[in-house]
Amino acid sequence: MNAVRIAWRVTRLNFRAQLEYRTEFLMMIAVGAIWQVSVLVFATVLLTRFTGMGGWNSSDVLLIPATRMLAHGLFVLVLGRIHALGRFIQEGVIDTYLVRPMPVHRQVQLQFFPTNAIGDLTVAAGLMVGAIARSDLDWTAGRITYLVAAVFGGMLLEAALFTVVACASLRFPAADYWGRWLEELLGTFGSYPLNVLPRAVGGLLTFGLPLAFVAYFPAAVLTGHGHDTGVPYWLAAASPLIGLLAYLAARLLWKWSLNHYTGVNG
């Protein structure tokens, strides 16, 4: 309980601190929103120029970037500071975390408030509302629950991927650059039904870098394309669970990596 209270208190104080720099605060929100401009352009082109993509109609396709962006926005808000771990290592901040009686991962997340997440989430929420409004699906309680689970699963899967990069950074600080590449890759391919890509690329984005589980598979299951994804239906449907399991595995790797941390001079 004390841990939750401390986390809430630090988050509140960090948020208040950001608010006091008004221009910086507003600029960061704008940056968060503008960062998603490619997705917005994709959505606009999709809806105005095409009737569909890869056998999906435009409204169904729209559910993919909406789910991915919402998952990404939540990741940035809740677990996104892991992305900055390379900098924290270089600055020696991790050393100060290690001498406090609090899990290092939690301290990383409480380092600052990610104002840009407000921009990310605002755009993502707008896109999701638009996607649901345009959708022909019957939004039953089951579908809504699955969508919510998919968003959280996507958030956890993205967090798992960046946690793995962070683990590498603990050993090789330059591994941080892989985080930027990963973010670029998620942003570039995360909005498409992966069946429009060559089979090998689709396979790579499913089993190599499991991007397909973030939004494509959940959207396929929701829109009735779950049997045409190239993987068994149950696997596509289990995407939220896979996100959770991937995150738990990444945290175990984090724990192991932290025990083998050698410091910036190592």
Partner: protein, 334 residues
């Protein structure tokens, strides 16, 4: 709980890649990297008693910070053991963290964007310090470190001296029996340095805290430590009381001579060595330690007879010279 530190055969080896010189060398390193083991700390053994302030000294890269990192639980040793207040730091990191305070002079443990007082309050919650106790301790620290004039300022706006004073307070707010200070006064002005030293003296003498301090400031060592441990190339080369080290390595006197002719060749004299020379200024010291050494009057006579001088002064050797002599002897022994 006792606040002692026990270190037995502590070692830490890092494996690094040898950087070959030149572009061709860099390409060769890429294709065929040569890995070498770097022994940052080798078989170091020492104790620090409860309520003792020990200065851990050594040149840059000697292994001081790596030793502190192992004792604070940041790094796991390659071999050997350490116990800090009864806890093995690298096995029970969070439990060890409750028993220790740490200040790394170069970096802060405070929240950069928050006013200092907010950081203190967060640390109070993390360490679960009762509010009344926290307030009383903060009042005590304010009296010693004059924090209240800037503790409502954000950390990012503090000067270095203000920031380190706040870091010191933050490290001790949970009343730890053991404190690690890694170059805490680096870059500070003399007034603030003295204030920090007074604070540390108070923490050791009045509160009975065990302090392990690393510094390159010999004035600090003279004012604070009664015992020092010298470490060089990762090995412990000397462990003893400051007075004993002075007797063993320190000239009991020094002659600071100014040569009349700056081109004069200077060499040692029987029983007298040249400690250092800077232009016309030459510092002479006794050749042998302790009782074997020449008296300052005998040396003065020899120097005046041998060289034409524009001036001469008699000094006691400072601690820096003593340490230099100790390092030199240690180097020769390796």
């Amino acid at each position: 709980m006792t606040g002692s530190i026990e270190v037995r055969g502590l070692s830490r080896t890092f494996h690094t890649t040898v950087r070959r010189p030149g572009f061709a060398g860099a390409l060769r390193s890429l294709v065929n990297p040569e890995r070498v083991a770097k022994h940052a700390v080798s078989d170091v053994t020492f104790d620090v008693a409860q309520g003792e302030l020990l200065a851990l000294l050594g040149p840059n890269g000697a292994g001081k910070s790596t030793t502190i990192k192992m004792l604070t639980g940041i790094l796991t040793p390659t071999s050997g053991t350490a116990r800090v207040a009864g806890v093995v730091p690298y096995e029970e990191r969070e439990r060890n963290a409750r028993n220790i305070g740490a200040v790394f002079g170069q970096r802060t443990q405070l929240w950069w964007d928050l006013p200092v007082r907010e950081s203190f309050a967060i640390l109070r919650d993390i360490y679960e310090v009762p509010k009344a106790e926290h307030a009383a301790r903060l009042k005590e620290f304010d009296e010693l470190l004059e924090l209240s004039s800037f503790w409502d300022t954000r950390v990012r706006h503090l000067s270095l001296g203000q920031r380190v004073r706040c870091d010191l307070a933050a490290a001790l707010l949970h009343d730890p029996p053991v404190v690690f200070l890694d170059e805490p006064t680096i870059g500070m002005d003399v007034v603030v340095k003295e204030q920090v030293r007074e604070f540390l003296r108070h923490q050791v003498a009045e509160r009975g805290r065990t302090v392990l301090l690393t510094t390159h400031d010999m004035t600090e060592v003279e004012r604070l430590a009664e015992r020092v441990v010298l470490i060089n190339h990762g090995r412990l080369v000397l462990d003893g009381a400051l007075d004993e080290i002075r007797r063993r390595f320190g000239s009991t006197w020094q002659l600071r001579a100014t040569l009349a002719d700056p081109h004069t060749e200077v060499a040692g004299l029987p029983g007298v060595v040249v400690v250092r020379r800077e232009g016309r200024q030459v510092v002479f010291g006794p050749e042998g330690p302790g009782a074997e050494a020449l008296s300052v009057h005998q040396a003065l006579k020899l120097v005046i007879e041998r060289y034409e001088l524009a001036g001469i002064a008699i000094d006691e050797a400072d601690l820096e010279d003593v340490m230099r002599a100790a390092y030199a002897q240690a180097e020769a022994a390796l």
